[in-house]
Structure formats: structure tokens, C-alpha cells
Symmetry: C2
Subunit: 395 residues, 2 copies
């Protein structure tokens, strides 16, 4: 759903812009800015890949000081594996934006997404920074989210309003990413803003928790991009100060989680070439970690992903994947459901009619529930199928 469809708007005190700076050769939108009119507290969650992009390193450094004014980003070039020249470019991109906005370079966070290897075209970036500064406005949200896209087929934006003692606190987020198994051209980026005032340490904890229950649930194969970043800014423009443990805190935390979850689901549903969306729920594992390992083994199995392009209830591929996962499995205790339909009981084919199974497995939004019967560990992972179109896109 596009930002326009939902009338998604920025919280108070935020403006944004999306421009075509010439980083992408086809002339499409390729730079974006989100700026707060006042100093904001900030939080960030980044890729754990040992090979991480220059802008990720710059963000980590800039977040060591307390105040952030803006996020500037480009699509088309990832500025990853670019050495010290790449670091100079990322710092220059932040410094250029800071100069336009009249703030310190370290008050600007910087992101890139696109091809790994090439250096940023700094002439285009420099021009883009000026254009962004001139174009920034409160009504440019959709243009901004479009400028973030690489192989995405649609922009991704979501909004939550939270009532805090009669005052509206707003949360607005943008994301990009098309498929969780695409760490190169389709890095996952998300930017969340709010007009509440939240102290940085608490903000970081809230964002980390929300990411663990949303974006990290769709990183189905551990394939983490060199550039994955989720950033959050809280500028306090609503006049509402939210403190950890206060009466309104839980509602705010829930709104951040719900917003991140909606953005994460938008990414899965825009999976490259995908036309089926699969929730893999594992329960009855020895531990939550074991359940997670089993769920990811199924979700990441290319054999399962290709099976979901058809309509045959190929539950043997699920048995196989949980069997080689790190989770302990006793096959005689395993039960598997497609939605509400029992397919496997005691590790063997259940007495369910084939037509019923075919119907159950043909759902465009497919829930696969796997009971291991060993304990109370539980985990859920969201994924999509793998079609010939995926291979064409990444060819």
C-alpha cells in the first residue's frame, strides 16, 4: 500500500524530500532526506555483517553523541567494500547535508543502498544534497519513500497515532527492501520518526525490541546485507515527554512494534518475484532458540521455497528441513498443519484427504504450523516463495 493510499503523514516538526540526483543512471529518484526542525534523540540498529558499509560505520560513530537533526540517504550505490575512500565519501555526504541544514556533521545520519563495490559519485551526491535541502517539506513523504527504492515495486510507509492524555503522539516510518534474501541490491532500510520526546537510551531499547520482533523475523536466511539499518528519531515537537515506566509507555512501545511489523510485512509482500506469503510457526520445541532454528531451516530451504510456488502439499520437505536444523527433533512426535488442516501426525501422513490438503496449501497467505511435541519453545518467521521470476531478477 503506498503512502498516499493511507494518507501517511509525518509527525510534527519533520520534513522530507526525495530527488533524482543522478546516482542512478536511469534518472529516477535516488536521494532522500528526513529532517527534524529541532534536535531529536536517535537510535539505530544495524547489520551484524562483518563486512559493513561505510555509511553504517559513520552512523554508529555519529550516534555516540546525543543529538540528531537529519537522515540523508541515496539508492543505487551501497558505498560498501569501498575502503577509506568510501569512508571519506560517507562523511562528506553527512557534512554536506549538515552544512545545508546549519547543524554539525555528526548530527546527520547517512545511509546508502545499491550496488556493492563502486564508489559514490560525489558530484551527483553533492548536487543532490543541495536539491534535498531546497525541496524538504512536510508533504513530500511519498516522494521520499520512492527515492529509497531499488528493486522494490512500491514505496513502503506506515503511521501510528498514540493518545497520551489527550495529546496525539505520531509515529511514522518508511522502509525499503524487496525480499529478505536479497542483501545486495535490496538492503533493508527503515526510518521511524516520532514527535514524542524520548531519551536516547530508552529509545534504543524500544527500537531494538521492535526490530527483533519485526525486521529480524523476516531475515529468514541470516543473509544480512552490508548496509541494513533501522534508524529512529524522536524530536519532542508534540510537547509530550515519554519516560520509560510511565503510564503511557506501554502504548508507545506497542505502537513502535506495530509500526515496524507493518513495514516488515510490506517488505515480505514485495519479495522479489514472490506471489505467496508464508508464516512458519514452530511450537513445542525444547526452547525458543530451537524453535527459531527449526522455523528458519524451513523458511530458508530453497526446496521448500520452490515447493510453495506450486500447490502440492510437499510436507516431506518440511520434515527434512527440521531434521537437519539445529533443533532437536523426534520425528514420531511431529505434527504439521497447513492453516487448520492437519497434514502430518506422529511424523507420518495424517488421515486427511488429498483434496483438502491441496486446498489448504494453495492459500496465497499460507500458515505452516509445526508442533515438535518436546517442550514449550516457540518461534515464528515470515517468508515468501521463490519463483522463476526471482532468478530472472537476480540473474
Amino acid at each position: 500500500m503506498s503512502a498516499a493510499d493511507k494518507k501517511t503523514e509525518w509527525p510534527m516538526g519533520f520534513r522530507s524530500a526525495g530527488v533524482a540526483a543522478g546516482v542512478k543512471r536511469d534518472g529516477s529518484l535516488d536521494m532522500a532526506l528526513i529532517v527534524s526542525d529541532r534536535a531529536a534523540s536517535a537510535a539505530g540498529v544495524f547489520t551484524t555483517n562483518q563486512v559493513c558499509a561505510a555509511p553504517v560505520k559513520v552512523c554508529r560513530a555519529h550516534l555516540e553523541q546525543p543529538v540528531v537533526r537529519a537522515i540523508v540517504m541515496n539508492s543505487g550505490v551501497a558505498n560498501a567494500c569501498t575502503g577509506s575512500a568510501g569512508m571519506v565519501s560517507a562523511e562528506a555526504m553527512a557534512a554536506g547535508m549538515a552544512s545545508e541544514l546549519g547543524c554539525l556533521p555528526e548530527e546527520v545520519l547517512v545511509c546508502s543502498t545499491g550496488k556493492i563495490g563502486p564508489q559514490l559519485p560525489m558530484e551527483a551526491i553533492g548536487g543532490g544534497v543541495s536539491m534535498l535541502s531546497a525541496a524538504a517539506a512536510a508533504d513530500q513523504l511519498e516522494q521520499t519513500s520512492r527515492a529509497m527504492m531499488t528493486t522494490d515495486t512500491r514505496p513502503k510507509a506506515a503511521m501510528r497515532d498514540v493518545d497520551v492524555k489527550g495529546v496525539r503522539v505520531r509515529l511514522t516510518g518508511l522502509a525499503k527492501g524487496a525480499g529478505m534474501i536479497e542483501p545486495n541490491m535490496a538492503t533493508m532500510l527503515a526510518f521511524v520518526t516520532t514527535d514524542a520526546a524520548v531519551e536516547a537510551v530508552a529509545l534504543q531499547a524500544v527500537l531494538k525490541g521492535a526490530v527483533d520482533r519485526s525486521f529480524n523475523r523476516i531475515t529468514v536466511d541470516g543473509d544480512q546485507s552490508t548496509n541494513d539499518s533501522v534508524l529512529m528519531l524522536a524530536n519532542g515537537a508534540s510537547g509530550v515527554v515519554l519516560e520509560e515506566g510511565s503510564e503511557s509507555w506501554a502504548g508507545f512501545v506497542a505502537a513502535v512494534e506495530s509500526l515496524c511489523f507493518e513495514l516488515a510485512m510490506m517488505i515480505v509482500h514485495d519479495g522479489e518475484g514472490a506471489d505467496r506469503f508464508v508464516t512458519v510457526l514452530v511450537e513445542g520445541a525444547e526452547s525458543d532458540a530451537a524453535a527459531d532454528a527449526a522455523a528458519r531451516a524451513v523458511a530458508n530451504s530453497l526446496l521448500n521455497k520452490t515447493a510453495w510456488a506450486g500447490t502440492f502439499p510437499d510436507w516431506g520437505r518440511i520434515m527434512d528441513a527440521i531434521g537437519y536444523s539445529a533443533a532437536r527433533v523426534d520425528e514420531t512426535l511431529v505434527r504439521i498443519w497447513y492453516g487448520e488442516t492437519l497434514a502430518v501426525e506422529g511424523g507420518v501422513q495424517a488421515a486427511t484427504a488429498m483434496e483438502t490438503l491441496v486446498e489448504a496449501v494453495s492459500e496465497r497467505e499460507l500458515l505452516i504450523r509445526i508442533g515438535l511435541g518436546l517442550g514449550s519453545g516457540e518461534a515464528v518467521v515470515y517468508t515468501c516463495n521463490c519463483t522463476e521470476e526471482y532468478v530472472r531478477i537476480n540473474f
Copy 2:
């Protein structure tokens, strides 16, 4: 290369057969027998999948006694996830074959490959067992290897002769499997025979070592089938007794390894839908285990597999995969070569002309060499690319 092309023949004292018993509905060959005229010592290496097929359990049990006469197998149905009924069927298949051959049931090893879930059609299996017994002959090797095929496009057989003080010892092996990322319909099976006499414990050690350096080097994603089995029989019909540590031992061990390696390469080259073959060599890792983790991360990355369907030197996807692997990586030390052509130096694009890189990465047999610059750990993994055809086959 088919068995016929290489004039592959059995060692002395072995006969075999391949028949169409009606397990596969299309009437093609679906049962095979390899029988030794005399008692043979035996060894086996099996899937480590916790969900393992009934025939794997039966083989493990039968190998607890010292003498084996035959291997009987079927393709089309895997007899996996079939519960106690499946165990009864696997035991009955071995017992039926033993009765035909006049030996004990536990002297027969049994394998199945094909669809997970369905029970073995025991009437067809019973008929097949009689047909195999009647058809078994020394010149039926190609027919036998054809009966093992599922999605394989060609039979796989190889032979080695070793001279032991003027006496010829022969090693002959058959394999099936089409793609290392296909644990369901294309279980990997291999059967190795020799007319040397080798004591069972030593035979097991030789086979395990050979499998680790061949078949286990192509299990690129840890996707282990429920049915993967490598079996070896040594019947002593040549009159040559080989003892561990004897003068001729090293030559025999080398021949087993070389035979298994040839069969493993046949499997990679018959990878489903694949048209490019990739050797991923990692060196300079902190340990061999770290090198193995890095090599498998690259070989198993769907993004890399799809990149290898094209001819663009997308080394960023390699950097990304090693970065999220369990191996320690310092990106500033990384070097990557396509064949002899340097693509990455110090973690960034090397000063090699793009045309040169494109040419290097377009090799049908592609060597990717990755230097981590951290130590002396080394590992190699053999894989193939992922094309749209793979998705069509597994759809």
C-alpha cells in the same frame, strides 16, 4: 559420462541388475541389486539428518554384523516419514532379497530414494526382488545405475584399478543424485565395490575419509536428505588381502578417494537445471573450520548462485556472504580471484579491467578463490549455479 562410455565393469565376484518393478508409475527402471558371490566386508556412511528413512535405520542395524552379500534399492519412493509400517517394509525388502539369494536378511543392505511420505508399494517391491535375482549378471552395470536415477539426467559410474604386487584390484562405484540442494526427490546414494579383502573397521575408516573429501564437499548447504547413504563392499575375490599400514594400503586409499571424488563431481555436474560449475576455495582463514564456513556461505547463497547464471563479476555478493558467515573476516585483508584474475584486493575492487573480469567470471567451470589473510586455514566446496530451470524442476 555413462558407464558404457568408460567401459566400467564390476570387480571380480560381483553381479548386478536393474529392473522396472512398477514402483515408478511411468514404467521406467526403479529397482537395483548389487550382489557379491561371496561374503563381503562392508562399510556405510549415512545422513546425519534426525529425520532419517527406514532403510537407513535398517542398514545401520545390519552393519552391526560383519558380513554382507548384497545391496538392494528402489527409486521412486523414499520410505521416509513412514513410521513403523515403513520399518516393516524395509526389513521385508531385505528379507525377500535374502531369501532369493540364500543368505540371512541382515546380510542384505537396503536403500530407497524418491518421494518422502508414501509407503513402499510392497507388491511391486516383492515382484522386483524376484526379477532382480533372476536378472543379476556381471554385465548389467549400466542397467543397474540407470535404475537408481530419479531426477538425474544420466547414470553415474566410475572405476579404478590398483596394482598390488602384480595382481589387479578393482574398485567400481555407482552413484545417483542430481544437485546438492535437492534432498527430497534426489537423495544422494553411492555404492562402491572392490574385489580386495579389507577388514570391516579399516574399510569404514577409508570410506569415511573418502566421503569427507568428496560427497561431503558437495553438500553445499548442509541440506542432508533423509536417505543419503554411501555403502562399500569388499569381497576379496581378487585374492588380494589389503591390511591397514601395509605397502599397498596408501594406493588403495587413494583409489577409493579418487573414485568417490569422480562420482561426487558427476553429481555436481548433473545439478538440476545447472549449467555452470563453481569451485569455491577459501584460504588464509583462522582455521580449516572457518574456511569451510566461509566457503559454504558463498556456495549456499542464493544470491551468488543466481549471479553465476549470468556473466557479471558480482564480487560484492561474495564479500557479503563471507561477512555473515561464522568465519572471522577483516574486510581490509580480503582478496578474491576469478580463476587467475584478481577481482578484489584489500576488500575493494582491484585494478583489473572490467572486460578481463567479465571474461574470467564467464568460465563454465569457475574457480573462485578467496584469501582471508588471517591464517593458514583452507577449505574447498564444489557447487553449481541456480537457473530458472531449477525452480521449474522443483515447482
